[in-house]
């Protein structure tokens, strides 16, 4: 177990910039999630830390030690992959035993370790099977076991849930959380699924174009997104972004914009905070309903607000139909303000 740090890391593949002067510090025992869209370089960051790819510049530390020149097999990290990456020519027992054998363990001690690990993950009956004879969930359990079995300094997980169906995904997600709570191994977890990130993380770093857009606890990320990119990326459905000019008097309380020119401000409103009322409600914006999406206890509706598509919530969608006029209301405190040009958050 150890703290992990990336210090001023740069990495590019030809013209593709994967990391540009990137710094990250992950505390000992922390569950840290790297969140970013597909192809933004999340996997590459894990490969850098594991020593598979060399960085162009910068220093990586595990437990305070600079590991930049240490070969992968000596970095003491373990990895779990989206593709499971079980060795197809070895059975489950040998897959679990593989990292131990590489450290010189054999015989009875090895067997005991493997069987203990298989027991905790419920794999006892599968030890003689080949990976191709296992279901997706079983494969990912074996992969977890293979990573966990030697108690690495850090755990690297690259979208371990992406290949699983919805039910299994929740099951293995809980398993991962349980493993982390029992062993408290520093974990660097990569995903493009913000819900997964929120559910698992102590802290989340949102990546964009080789740098960190924001690094914060899940609640802070949700409550105070640093820019419009994070605002749209975190939270489902994504936050509505509207030109502040829409709030032209009477709604634009001049105080809320703090005297800024409405043309230079973008408003952020989460669909959860935008309540669709019946026509005629006061102090609200008029919009035309385009679509209704029942969500169980309530209904999402997509509406046209002076030319901008917005998503809003309605306690019950019963009396609304596409084409109707509705009024969208929100609490003053739920508005996020961003600079229209840079997308950065404006502090209130």
């Amino acid at each position: 177990m150890a703290a992990v740090a990336f210090e001023r890391i740069a990495k590019r593949f030809g013209p593709t910039v994967v990391a540009d002067d990137l710094t990250l510090r992950i505390a000992d025992g922390e569950f840290f999630v790297l969140l970013g869209p597909s192809g933004c370089g999340k996997s590459t960051l894990l490969h850098l830390l594991a020593g598979i790819e060399p960085a162009d510049r910068g220093v990586m530390r595990i437990g305070g030690v600079d590991v930049s020149a240490v070969p992968p097999q000596q970095r003491d990290v373990a990895m779990v992959f989206q593709s499971y990456a079980l060795y197809p020519h070895l059975d489950v027992f040998e897959n679990l035993a593989f990292p131990l054998r590489n450290r010189g363990l054999s015989g009875r001690a090895l067997r005991a370790e493997v069987e203990r690990m298989a027991g905790t993950l419920g794999l006892g009956a599968l030890l003689a099977k080949r990976p191709r004879d296992l279901s997706g969930g079983q494969r990912q359990r074996v992969a977890l076991g293979r990573a966990l079995i030697r108690r690495p300094a850090a755990f690297l997980m690259d979208e371990p849930l992406s290949n699983l169906d919805a039910a299994l995904r929740l099951e293995i997600r809980e398993e991962i959380k349980r493993v982390h709570q029992t062993h408290r191994i520093t974990t660097l977890y990569v995903t493009h699924d913000q819900e997964e990130a929120m559910a698992l993380a102590d802290r989340i770093a949102v990546l964009r174009g080789g740098s960190i857009a924001q690094c914060d606890a899940p609640e802070a990320l949700y409550a105070r997104p640093a820019d419009t990119f994070v605002a749209r990326f975190v939270g489902t459905p994504p936050m509505n972004l509207l030109p502040a000019a829409l709030l032209a008097p009477p709604e634009a309380a001049a105080a809320r914009l703090q005297g800024r020119d409405p043309a230079s401000v973008t408003l952020g409103l989460r669909p959860q905070d935008l309540e669709a009322r019946d026509a005629g409600a006061a102090g609200a914006l008029e919009a035309r309903v385009l679509l209704l999406e029942p969500a169980g206890g309530f209904t999402w509706l997509v509406a046209d607000l002076a030319g901008t598509r917005v998503k809003a919530r309605r306690a019950d969608g019963a009396r609304l139909a596409p084409g109707d006029t509705t009024r969208l209301a929100f609490a003053a405190g739920s508005v996020h303000l961003f600079d229209a040009a840079s997308g950065r958050r404006l502090e209130r």
Partner: protein, 271 residues
């Protein structure tokens, strides 16, 4: 129905055209000498093995077979060892300049052998490797390497990157990951590459002709090309020798049909 019939007729014709010349050689090899001196008869009246006996008794043919096997086996082993290491590095470590390296390898595989036979003759002489099995095996390995590197790079590319990464993270050194994970997964590719390289070495003629001068290092193709005849050409014996030289390859091709097809078409079709 008519199309089906046409397909079958066409297939039968293609198979007959492919098999007939070699089948004729097999027939020739078991015909009594008298029946070789006129035509007809097409088919032998009795089957005789005298030509086979003559090949092995009268000539150092067994020695040539042994030479051919030794040279082809050593060259194949060398080409596989070096080719799989290089192919692995190109496919999984992706060094900068890999595209240029692969292109250079392909260009080298297109060299006409005649273009390098004179310098190799002089170089082999200078190194004391002329008329030795070692010299021949080295040259064959060199000429087979472009194919071996190219094919092994293709086969290693089809092993997922994640398996290599997992092996390294699980405690394998570079060579450990190669030996314990990558190589076992590339066995079909190794087999295909080995077969193609072996066939190339077994069949090679120009270098065998120029770099060897005695039975000590001569190989089967040279033996068959220079088959000695005192008065007239000993067609029966040549046929017998041909069958002996070809049988191992036909057998290999039949047993490892799938692998041979993989090897012949890998890279050419996909990229």
């Amino acid at each position: 129905m008519i199309r089906r019939l046409g397909t079958w007729l066409g297939l039968a014709a293609a198979c007959a055209w492919s098999l007939a010349p070699f089948a004729w050689q097999v027939l020739t090899s078991v015909k009594p000498q008298a029946e070789l001196e006129s035509l007809p008869p097409l088919l032998p009246s009795t089957i005789t093995l005298v030509h086979y006996e003559a090949v092995f008794a009268g000539h150092p043919f067994a020695h040539l077979l042994l030479n051919s096997f030794a040279v082809a086996a050593c060259a194949t082993a060398l080409a596989l060892a070096l080719g799989s290491l290089a192919g692995f590095a190109l496919a999984k470590l992706r060094p900068p300049g890999r595209a240029a390296t692969l292109a250079a390898v392909v260009v080298l595989s297109m060299l006409p052998p005649v273009a390098t036979v004179s310098p190799l003759f002089l170089l082999a002489g200078a190194a004391g490797l002329r008329d030795t099995l070692t010299g021949l095996a080295l040259v064959y390995a060199g000429f087979a390497l472009p194919l071996a590197v190219w094919l092994m790079a293709q086969f290693f590319r089809s092993v997922p990157d994640d398996l290599y990464i997992a092996a390294r993270v699980d405690g394998c050194s570079l060579l450990g990951a190669f030996g314990k994970v990558m190589l076992p997964l590339a066995v079909p590719g190794l087999t295909a590459t080995g077969l193609l390289v072996f066939v190339f070495c077994w069949n090679e003629f120009l270098f065998a002709l120029t770099l060897t001068s005695s039975t000590a290092a001569r190989t089967v193709p040279v033996g068959i090309a220079l088959f000695p005849g005192i008065h007239e050409v000993p067609w029966g014996e040549i046929a017998a020798a041909s069958v002996v030289a070809t049988a191992p390859l036909v057998l290999l091709a039949a047993v490892f049909q799938r692998r041979v097809l993989d090897g012949l078409t890998a890279g050419a079709v996909k990229g």
